[in-house]
């Protein structure tokens, strides 16, 4: 049995979680998921500004903080912290924690190969719209292939203490040590599906251990000290989900089911680079306090394609807010919205979208929100999005004047004009698997 713990569900997750996983009980592997779709484009911009950047900068600092413990307890780390510059990330880990042996997985970054792919006849059509990638070619900010668990397992086999990857799938982080330690083969579809589903359960960190859980949430103990998830994996593909004893939160079939359903599409065809997993084959059983046993998982052969994660620039947006108090808070906010829209119209400005929400009324649940006849206050929130940066910038100057020249009792403008932000959009596409070649480097 091996214990695989996830200490980071996204870049920005709780900094203490990985440290506590190491210190509060036994684990063999610490996995850390840093990348969301849009993260790659942010990192690409940082790399363009400074060739030594482009990775999750929290990660080398974390490694320095826990290096001694990692060595003492022989815990291996697997992280997709490398972003668009895994080698620079690994070198920084080595600089801050010289005792750690670091291996890097390379080959996912295809930003410099996109023109070759297009020239070779690969359209890389958007899975959302069907348009070819060439239609946004000059606006691409980053392009990466999602790679699977086998290159990570290869990196673990170099006896590295730390494996740094770029854009691997979240589930690969958990599956890789199972492949490496249990000797699973590339055609062990049921086993690969089991490890993939184990990875899916823990990939969002505490979201399977009582975080964001709707089931009797007020009874979930000590969320301030919530334990992050641990997979106890067996060579036969069965596993338990648990957390360190003495930590807060809850692990039971309810919390695990909620996470299994999270960001799920067709449950019979959960496609990764490693296999196609069938979520309708999963058997769950509560098997002790904060412990769920998972078995029965079946999988199908992997597909011939890999998914590409491409980010591109798609205009500008800004969001402005003002707060109106009772009486008639909602009516005042609606009147103010009408005034802003009329002034934008008179200026001749056009946008791809203007969208208004009313916090306290309908921002979360839209047309199905519970009616609130006389709210004590309402926040007006107007967002605009468009290709013309100057138009968006002009919009940001149209909110604050309402404090003096619009409906009464406006407040909440202390932060001044809202910032104009670039819209980085996501272009999901497929490419033939054979285009992507990965390799492992040990950083000395």
């Amino acid at each position: 049995m091996i214990r695989i713990a996830n200490g980071q569900g996204f870049w920005g997750d709780w900094l203490e979680a990985p440290v506590r996983l190491i210190e509060q009980g036994p684990i063999d592997y610490l996995i850390l998921d840093y990348l969301a779709e849009v993260t790659m484009s942010i990192l690409q911009k940082q790399k363009q500004a400074d060739p030594q950047l482009g990775y999750a900068r929290d990660f080398p600092l974390l490694m320095a903080r826990i290096a001694k413990r990692l060595r003492e307890r022989n815990v291996k780390v697997i992280a997709n912290a490398g972003g668009v510059n895994p080698v620079a990330c690994a070198r920084e880990v080595r600089r801050l924690a010289p005792d750690l042996r670091v291996a890097v997985v390379l080959g996912d970054d295809v930003f410099d190969r996109i023109d070759n792919f297009i020239a070779a006849g690969h359209a890389m059509k958007s899975l959302d719209t069907g348009e070819p990638l060439s239609s946004i070619r000059d606006r691409i900010l980053s392009a990466n292939a999602y790679i699977g668990a086998f290159p990570l397992a290869e990196a673990l086999a170099t006896a590295a203490d730390v494996v740094v990857a770029g854009r691997c799938t979240d589930t690969a982080l958990a599956l890789a040590p199972m492949i490496q330690r249990f000797g699973w083969k590339g055609t062990d579809w049921n086993l690969l599906a089991a490890g993939t589903i184990a990875g899916h359960i823990v990939e969002c960190g505490a979201q399977c251990t009582g975080g964001n859980c709707q089931v009797d949430w007020q009874s979930i103990p000590d969320l301030a000290n919530i334990g992050y998830p641990i997979i106890e994996a067996e060579p036969d593909g069965t596993f338990c989900i648990t957390k360190h004893s003495g930590t807060g939160g809850r692990v039971n079939a309810d919390t695990v089911k909620e996470q299994l359903l999270y960001e799920l599409g067709d449950p019979k065809n959960y496609i990764t680079p490693d296999c196609v997993a069938d979520f309708t084959s999963i058997r769950l059983k509560d098997s002790g306090p904060n412990r769920v046993r998972v078995s029965g998982i079946q999988g199908q052969p992997r597909t011939d394609s890999l998914k590409l994660s491409i980010a591109y620039s798609d205009g500008w947006k800004a969001i402005g807010t003002l707060v109106y108090s009772a009486p008639q808070a909602f009516e005042k906010a609606k009147a103010a919205d009408g005034i802003v829209r009329e002034r934008l119209r008179q200026l001749g400005l056009s946008f791809d979208e203007i969208y208004t929400e009313y916090f306290g009324i309908n921002a979360c649940h839209g047309p199905v929100a519970v009616p609130c006849p006389e709210p004590p206050e309402v926040q007006l929130r107007i967002g605009v999005r468009g290709q013309d940066r100057q138009a968006v910038d002009r919009f940001t100057r149209e909110m604050i004047p309402l404090v003096l020249n619009g409906p009464p009792t406006a407040t909440g403008f202390g932060d001044g004009r809202p910032p104009v932000r670039e819209v980085v959009a996501y272009w999901p596409a497929l490419a033939p698997r054979e285009l992507i070649e990965t390799h492992v480097e040990v950083i000395e």
Partner: protein, 110 residues
Amino acid sequence: MKIPLSKIAHARSGDKGDTSNIGVIAYQEKHYPILAREMTAARVKTFFGDLVKGKVERYELPNLGALNFLLHEALGGGGTLSLRVDAQGKTLGAALLRMEVEVGDHELRD
């Protein structure tokens, strides 16, 4: 009689681009047939009204006592394009739990 879905089920929701996914899970597996019968894709689409511009798809996971709904064109463009505060549809599961379902008395007895 009619009861809100929240009496017999919990939910979690998230996003894939401009598609929101909502997993609806029966607290007790014996109540899964109620979900399967009452929670049709068409009713979920009607429940959300203007919020969902595209189609609603439904997938069944009887092994978990759960249904998975995909609400297409439901997040104002999704991801970074969306101007909504809940661009990832994280609160839509909680909204769906207010939907009323028709159950027989015998179905709720222990």
